[in-house]
Amino acid sequence: MSSHQANSLVAFVTGLTGGQLEQLFVQPYCVVAILRSLQPLSRHVLLRFTATSGSISAALVSSWARAEGDSKLGAALAELQKLHLLAQVAQGGQAAWAVNASFQAQLRHAICSGLLTEQDSGALPPAAALPSAAELNAYARQQWDGLLLYLVGGSSQPPGPPPELRGAAPVDIPSLLARAGLMLKDEYTLTQSISQSGFQFLLADLYSQLWSAVRQYLADLQAAAGEAGGAGTAGADLAVAVNFLLRLGLQAGRPMCYSRLAESERVIAAHMAHLGLLMPLPAGGEVWLHPTRMAAVLAGGGRAGEAAAAAEDGFVIVESNFRVYAYTTSAVQAAILRVFVRCDALLPNLFVGTITRDSAVAALEAGITADQIVGFLRQHAHPRVAAKTPIVPAVVADQVRLWQQELRRLRSNAATLYGRFEGPALYASAAEHAQRLGALLYRDDERQVLAVQSAFHDAMRVHIKTQKAALGL
């Protein structure tokens, strides 16, 4: 699996365990996504299995590889076995490989007749009702920015669900953010506020933000499935949700009719519309859901996701005198910038600020790294400066990194000081032992003094005692 997939929906799917994975094999889009995530050779092995009765003798399978490809084929078969796609069976006294029957059926169906299911083939909303790209972006931005603004504390209420889907249950955004560790609940006031990882979340690119929210959403479903014992409707919910998200990726830009979705799909469809991945639009007495750019970002995974996110218009200009000009009307963007920039002036469409030592150190102490700050400024660079190299002036980027190193110059450890050893042999042995434990913080051979982490005090005491006895002191 290539590295850009390490943090994606597909990696989540292939990381699932037995029973949950089996339930995915009856979902057509999951089958395609799983197939594409495999090693090339594994895909070809599966393709050869598609048109068979289900099992092929092991001798025949191993004859597929050339001599130099034996180990590759073995690795491919092991990968397929790990995902429960292939299993070793005995067939008429001979070893054979059998393909998962539901996976084979779905794959065969996909190859023979394509993925379009009956409910959404052909039917499309009237062309006049289709929103423009700008409208789609505006809707996605409104919902997602609402969530971010709630996260930074800029508004007391999370964004509401779209009015067209009032009947469906909305996502519980506050508890979703809390479970993801982005917000912490104050025990006394019962209000939520942003956590350290919440700050890091703010500065991350859109794909990472989206993926961590969706991952938490799926993890909740997975936990529900775990409670229900892996079987039953809760487990199927997870499979339906994953299938729905993968379908967004495979049928990019194709609107779907809300009333014609299956009952279980409507729940997740409404949730994704709430988060801004789908834009509801009423037309001809029906509600249609049109995927927004965010759906494409999520579906694209790491690499393609970044490309889609980069298409977003930048707005930040950083000057070498540490001045920051941000052409934005968004309260969220201003709030995010305030995390590490001192605001000097706020005009209707312009945020003017300065990166000062105080503002940057405050952000660094809140757990944000220098690379995240510089990365944020680079990622949202105004088109005018985005063409220059470096996008963020080297002096600014270096200074932020220096401030970060400054914070790390001193480090405190709970330590125990050992001194007045009875002889150099005992000192040398104790020092060596501390070194072996990886607990030695400081040694002064002249004065025969050792500083060792307090956690290892007991181990040191035992060692020194036995050494003393051994040396006869």
Binding site: L41, R43, L47, A65, I111, Q251
Partner: protein, 323 residues
């Protein structure tokens, strides 16, 4: 291995012979008609697009009237169409089967209409087609020009994809190596039932050499009765696979298990090879395949009989019959 394409996706161009001769030979194969061929080809194309989201596909048909593009992935659309769509490169929607099928049917119907005009009935015996081929290939497929057209198409698609990727990498500020070195691997699959047309020897060989030089694999699937010397040589020289299915009615299984594999996977898989390649050249004077011939010492033109002077470059062989 920095110069390798970063995933295993590839660009596949399929060239389907729909010339009157080709169709006549196709109809003569028991258990495989044109309709069945299209259906089986479609499952293969579906499987190919299923394998990777970055796989790109183009389907060409070569008829008596020339080579036509029946279908291509949206990301392969020619530039003017792209501009009309606002320069927006959408991800290829999946599956393309409906679009492929309508494109192929349109072209094949045109070809069938052309065949009727030419007086060759699709159901006619192969003998009639062979006779047509002997008349300088009036009803057969212009393989050489079709190959050239497809190679040009592949070349421009590879360039465009590399340029798009280069600008993407450049935009993110990474010190990426020049993108021109990294072209998406491409292959060309020829599906034909018709025998070779010897008069096209020079053109076909030139197309094969240019494919070999630009690293494009030529796969060939010969459905008809005899072997095709041209396609055998094409597969041999470009590192592709030449296959003459023993049971053409089970075409989809051959296609899926042999031609779906990308170039890198083929290193590890045991694929049907060709025991004996017919390397015979065609003479330049009568376009006949020959075993022994005369070669011009200046320009390497091949002749089946001894001539006083080379008809290609004009060199005189005057001293030839000195005892």
């Amino acid at each position: 291995m920095a110069a390798e394409w970063e995933d295993d996706s590839s660009l596949l161009a399929v060239l389907l012979d729909v010339s009157p001769t080709g169709l006549a030979h196709l109809a003569a194969i028991p258990g495989l008609g044109l309709q069945s061929l299209l259906e089986q080809l479609l499952t293969f194309l579906n499987a190919f697009t299923l394998l990777s989201d970055a796989n790109r596909l183009a389907v060409f048909t070569a008829g008596a009237g020339g080579c036509q593009l029946a279908f291509c992935s949206p990301s392969c659309q020619p530039a003017p169409l792209m501009a009309a769509a606002g320069g927006h490169v959408a991800a290829d929607p999946w599956p393309p089967s409906a679009a492929i099928l309508s494109g192929l049917q349109r072209v094949v119907q045109q070809a069938a209409a052309a065949a009727e005009v030419a007086g060759v009935q699709p159901g006619a015996a192969a003998a009639a087609a062979a006779a047509a081929a002997a008349h300088g290939g009036g009803g057969s497929c212009q393989l050489s020009s079709a190959l050239s057209r497809v190679l040009c198409f592949i070349h421009s698609m590879q360039r465009r994809a590399a340029a798009a990727q280069g600008s993407l990498l450049g935009g993110s500020g990474g010190g990426a190596p020049p993108a021109a070195e990294r072209l998406q691997p491409a292959r060309l699959l020829c599906l034909t039932a018709a025998p070779d047309v010897p008069s096209q020897y020079i053109g076909v060989m030139n197309a094969i050499f240019s494919a070999q030089r630009s690293g494009i694999l030529i796969d060939a699937c010969q459905l008809g009765a005899g072997h095709s010397s041209f396609l055998q040589q094409a597969a041999y020289l470009t590192g592709g696979t030449y296959l003459k299915p023993a049971r053409p009615q089970a075409l989809t299984q051959y296609l899926n298990s042999v031609f779906a594999a990308d170039a890198r996977s083929r290193r590890y898989l045991r694929l049907p090879g060709t025991a004996r390649v017919d390397f015979r050249a065609s003479c330049f004077c009568h376009k006949r395949p020959i075993d022994l011939g005369f070669v011009c010492s200046a320009c390497l033109s091949i002749f089946c009989q001894q001539l006083p002077a080379c008809t290609t470059c004009g060199t005189e062989f005057g001293a030839g019959d000195k005892k």
